[in-house]
Symmetry: C2
Subunit: 670 residues, 2 copies
């Protein structure tokens, strides 16, 4: 059951699709303190209560013991002490004697003190007192999630090929280097479906331009790659370069499509292209205009995009730079004896990035109201991506396109996926990815994944292999790394055959994985679930944060520590252990419920199938275009001990999620 | 057996105390590539080889899969991608079919590529071709460590009270705030032995000064605190403030005791006091002079010190600042369209810290030779601390003093302990501490510990409790945190009684812990050992990196993940599980060998005693001065199933480690 409470004058975020009548009276579960300007929601936590939620955030599946802030942030250091990442997902479940979900539909900064100040207290503080709050009750965590997901609408479905393996790097600088990557994978016998174009494919980082020097005859190049089964996925950034003669800039200025400063001038801030303007994505006309630009690239054969820098990230504003430079220049240049003076000087420019002052200094015009960016900050990336999705639906109405974003807010899940941003080549970030998947699923973000192998810092072969052993199960499976770091395409490493074996397994699993994804979309299920969601009466499951249930019949428990030869795994019931050996053969062993130390050498993949379930594996191929998705019981491999399985599929790939009634079911008997 | 190989003209680091004859011919185990200027040692690694060592370093107990650099570094972000921390400890053990230890006695930068570039190759590259290499063979890892420890000499022994609980913060700014901390602990019934004085106790950060405004009549204050059983431990930094009239500065200048730049002027670089000179700790006269200064504080009743900033850390050099400021000032002040230009500008001042250019620009005079600092960088902290230790022996010859350092090199372990520097309030750093302890022990650093609760970032109650559950077993047990972070004295949190219970347990364990420490010193044993060292034939032990053997009879397996209710533990043999409950009572349960999921609530302490061993617990007290260290079998609690135990102790506390033949043994029958 859902109850809606409104306070003040909420901004309509469009995150919710169902019309819930507004309650009068006091909200359940929370003590509310309210003044004109501020309010706070407080609840006591019993010692055994678990708090789930918050989508993309640091720390565990159980969010207790930290203070989080919903404020979309471009921060590449995803360490435990951070409070904000790229997304803002204000949904929580409190699971204890009292069990309920709560969604704070609020587009500004919001603080969640979940047992940080007082270990037994939850305190939620929005920036101001205008918001909608939804209280969701249900018999189980899964029932609460399902009810919430109905409230916020069906999740985005990408094309089938977006489940193939994807390779990215900042940046493959020209057509030949892209060809070399395709060759590298082909020669190593490692399947590959896409190659990404990071910011350097553009002319001076201008959205919707292509540098002809690097990519002469881009349209032919797209076709050439597609003929090899490889789709190119260009990046689109949020900022539009200020440059006379650049059509996007000129149209934006002419039509007042950009965010304005307090004086009504187009707000200027620097990102990759130097000074830019930000399209006013909260303005429906601007949204339609920007979204229509993607057609330039789809007309050249492009079928997928990633939207970046849309928190929006700001390196500095024109005004901020000016102040900082003056402050440094006016410095005496004499050494003071105070270290703090020096630190002040040292940080003058560094402090310019993503500053609250800048976010407070520009405005949106929604068509019906002018609103300060700071108050609706968390809607920017959402609406950039909505703009793209709506533009793509116009441009290529007959097929699904790949689209994912860095910044997000709940509601964006109907339009696109997300990736989890600029992580590091740290072993700890394998586990971070595992822990964030169910939290994202709760909020509707089903198509998601992390930069495999880590974006920042240097990767090692063993890290990449172990990460891939998790990645083969995530919808978005993309290897991505930053400029200046070690090359981390799989074929760069010593044991190419080990990588090939894992990736081929992913392709063999695709019909099942895609089916489970469609099932999660159609029925508002979570693709990844904490064990405690499936086994709520099993006390042992409540604290397990390094294993997940996947789809209806799988459990995964990847290795995430260096130089390990296996790991401890808890089986809440008897299951079949599946072991993919280095030679590609698969063994299946029944294991009883309980704790097991499972040996998992670096070149093997181990996971578990629940009794009564069957997972069919088809034949692998160099890419999804070359695959036969029909399971042929004569040639398929069946995992688990069930005698049949139901696979969902789409006969056509409609663009619109609303049309996904086209999803069909086929029963496969082994 | 130890073999010594010399190349070129090695600098005498004085890390080794035994005279080993030099071998002719080629070194065992390694392929050596050598030119006049450079050399490289390369060895193949079998897939099952484990590489131990490197003392203070990031990552696991098994060092495979990363590239490390020995170069003492002031870097507060101890993340997996770093290559250097504060210490330089060039000792490795390769444990496989071939089993050997190797010590590269080399004071400059040295790179250890342990399966980073090629997973099956170890490559060691010193900065130049002048070094001694010791190859140590033995039947077991423990035998190799023992042989190595004999080579480098007996470890430092602190006073008994240094094993009590210690409280620190940057900074307790005056006498009253120190009193408040003492009161806080006393009122909460939590034992406490020391309170630390961080940099703000000095006048303008000048070594060996005391700010009378903050600490009027310091000598009386020291006595007042000592009467409460609390010793004050002041910090001493490496840099001496440049200030006319400041005696340490003036004496250093007059006697040429400071490091010189290329022109023979005293080298000037800024740290906390602003511009400073660095004492030339490689010069015996300067060392003696600086070490004698500690007497000023011991004469006022101080019995312990921590030496900091002695990598040496440099915020900026006078020359570097000048260049940077000119470069910024000459910048047009115009925004360029290149983000890279902006990053360059932004980082101009940040890049000044700890720069290689600065380390290359100053010189030591050892009395017999002039040497560039860069070439002997890793000896600076070692010799600052040796200076202090030798000074303290002169000043207070009749008792042991507490001394530990941030930077270190092997050899310094004879003079002092170390703490592991500016860590973070991250759960991952509990495990980091656990993993670094045996590696430090291999290199002779027995008295060591991490900043409990984390130095940087904000701590939570649960993090601090779990960390303390490891800390109760480490010789140095100090809660320390940085300016600007949340207060993290135990009494600041909700469940003071839980902290009190753990700390009291530590005090009850002290006679045993101190005895085990003395045993490790006397017999060149490791206090903390990987399980594989004690059970070399047990395959399961080889990859366990979150449990340790402690002393002769204990195994520890602390919880290091948030919101966990326990953890998986492997018992290589049957052991007694000891459970300290929240009410202070202790239960003992026999467990069979194998894997166990052990429930460990946040307010309980669990560890294991090997069969046949006995651990006596004495009565706790508010501090060590108030304790009776004699075990009274009538009132003691005995853990484990042995019928007696041997305790080592000292009747007097001599300052010199050479006198530790005074260590005596007493057999306790239960």
């Amino acid at each position: 059951m859902i109850k809606k409470y409104s306070y003040g004058t909420p901004f309509n975020t469009e995150s919710v699709v169902k019309n819930i009548p507004q309650q009068n009276g006091e909200i359940d579960f929370f003590d509310v303190t309210k003044t004109n300007e501020t309010m706070q929601f407080a609840a006591n936590l019993a010692q055994s209560d678990i708090v789930y939620g918050l989508g993309q955030a640091v720390r565990g599946i159980n969010k207790r013991g930290w203070i989080y802030e919903s404020f979309c942030s471009d921060d590449p250091f995803h360490t435990e002490d951070k409070s904000s990442l790229y997304g803002a997902h204000n949904f929580l479940i409190i699971d204890g004697e009292q069990k309920f979900g709560v969604y704070f539909d609020f587009p500004g900064k919001m603080t969640f003190d979940i047992g940080y100040t007082d270990p037994d207290k939850l305190t939620v503080t929005p920036l101001n007192a205008n918001l909608d709050v939804y209280i969701i009750t249900g018999e189980s965590c899964l029932a609460i999630v399902k009810e919430f997901r109905e409230l916020i609408g069906k999740s985005y479905i990408p094309p089938m090929w977006a489940f193939g393996f994807q390779q990215s790097r900042w940046s493959y600088g020209n057509a030949d280097s892209v060809r070399a990557v395709a060759d590298g994978y082909q020669n190593a016998g490692i399947p590959l479906d896409t190659i990404y174009l990071d910011i350097d494919y553009m002319v001076d980082f201008k959205d919707f331009t292509i540098d002809d020097d690097k990519f002469p005859d881009f349209e032919s190049f797209v076709a050439e790659m597609k003929a090899r089964g490889i789709r190119l996925i260009p990046i689109i950034d949020a900022g539009v370069k200020i440059e006379q003669g650049y059509d996007v800039y000129e149209e934006g200025v002419a039509n007042n499509y950009f965010c304005k400063d307090k004086d009504g001038n187009d707000f200027a801030a620097a990102v990759w292209p130097g000074l830019t303007h930000f399209p006013d994505f909260l303005n429906p006309d601007a949204r339609k205009w920007f979204g229509a630009k993607y057609k330039k690239l789809t007309d050249m054969g492009i079928e997928g995009f990633w939207n970046d820098m849309n928190e929006p990230a700001i390196f500095y504003s024109a005004e901020g730079f000016d102040k900082a430079f003056k402050s440094v220049k006016n410095h005496s240049g004499k050494l003071t004896n105070s270290p703090w003076d020096f630190f002040e000087l040292k940080d003058t420019f560094a402090r310019l990035a993503n500053s609250g002052d800048d976010y407070r200094s520009f405005y949106h015009n929604t068509g019906t109201q002018k609103v300060c960016h700071y108050d609706v900050h968390n809607l920017f990336g959402f609406n950039m991506t909505r703009s793209a999705a709506e533009g793509l639906q116009e441009a290529v109405p007959d097929k699904r396109t790949l689209l994912f974003s860095r910044a997000s807010y709940i509601g964006m899940h109907r339009y696109a996926g997300i990736w989890t941003g600029d992580n590091h080549s740290w072993w700890g970030h394998i586990l971070n990815q595992l822990k964030v998947m169910p939290s994202l699923n709760m909020c509707g973000f089903l198509y998601s994944g992390a930069d495999l192998g880590g974006f920042n810092a240097n990767c090692t072969e063993d890290l990449l292999l172990r990460w891939l052993a998790l990645g083969v199960f995530t919808p978005l499976l993309r290897n991505h790394s930053a400029i200046g770091t070690r090359d981390q395409e799989f074929y760069r490493f010593k044991h190419k055959d080990w990588f090939a074996n894992f990736v081929k397994f992913r392709y063999r699993l695709l019909p099942y994985l895609y089916s489970e994804f469609l099932n999660a979309v159609e029925n508002n299920e979570m693709l990844f679930r904490p064990l405690a969601f499936d086994y709520p009466d099993d006390e042992s499951c409540k604290t397990i944060e390094d294993q997940l249930m996947l789809g209806q019949g799988l459990m995964i428990a990847p290795v995430y520590t260096q130089n390990a030869d296996g790991r401890n795994v808890y089986l809440p019931e008897g299951m079949t252990k599946i072991r993919l050996k280095a030679d590609g053969t698969i063994t299946q062993t029944d294991l009883r419920c309980g704790y097991h130390y499972i040996k998992i050498p670096l070149n093997e993949l181990v996971f578990f199938v629940k009794h009564g379930y069957t997972v069919p594996l088809t034949e692998d191929a160099q890419n999804t275009d070359a695959m036969d998705f029909d399971i042929n019981p004569e040639t398929a491999t069946f995992l688990g001990d069930g005698d049949s399985c139901d696979l969902l599929y789409e006969e056509e790939h409609p663009q619109s999620a609303e049309q996904s009634a086209l999803v069909k079911k086929k029963r496969i008997f082994r």
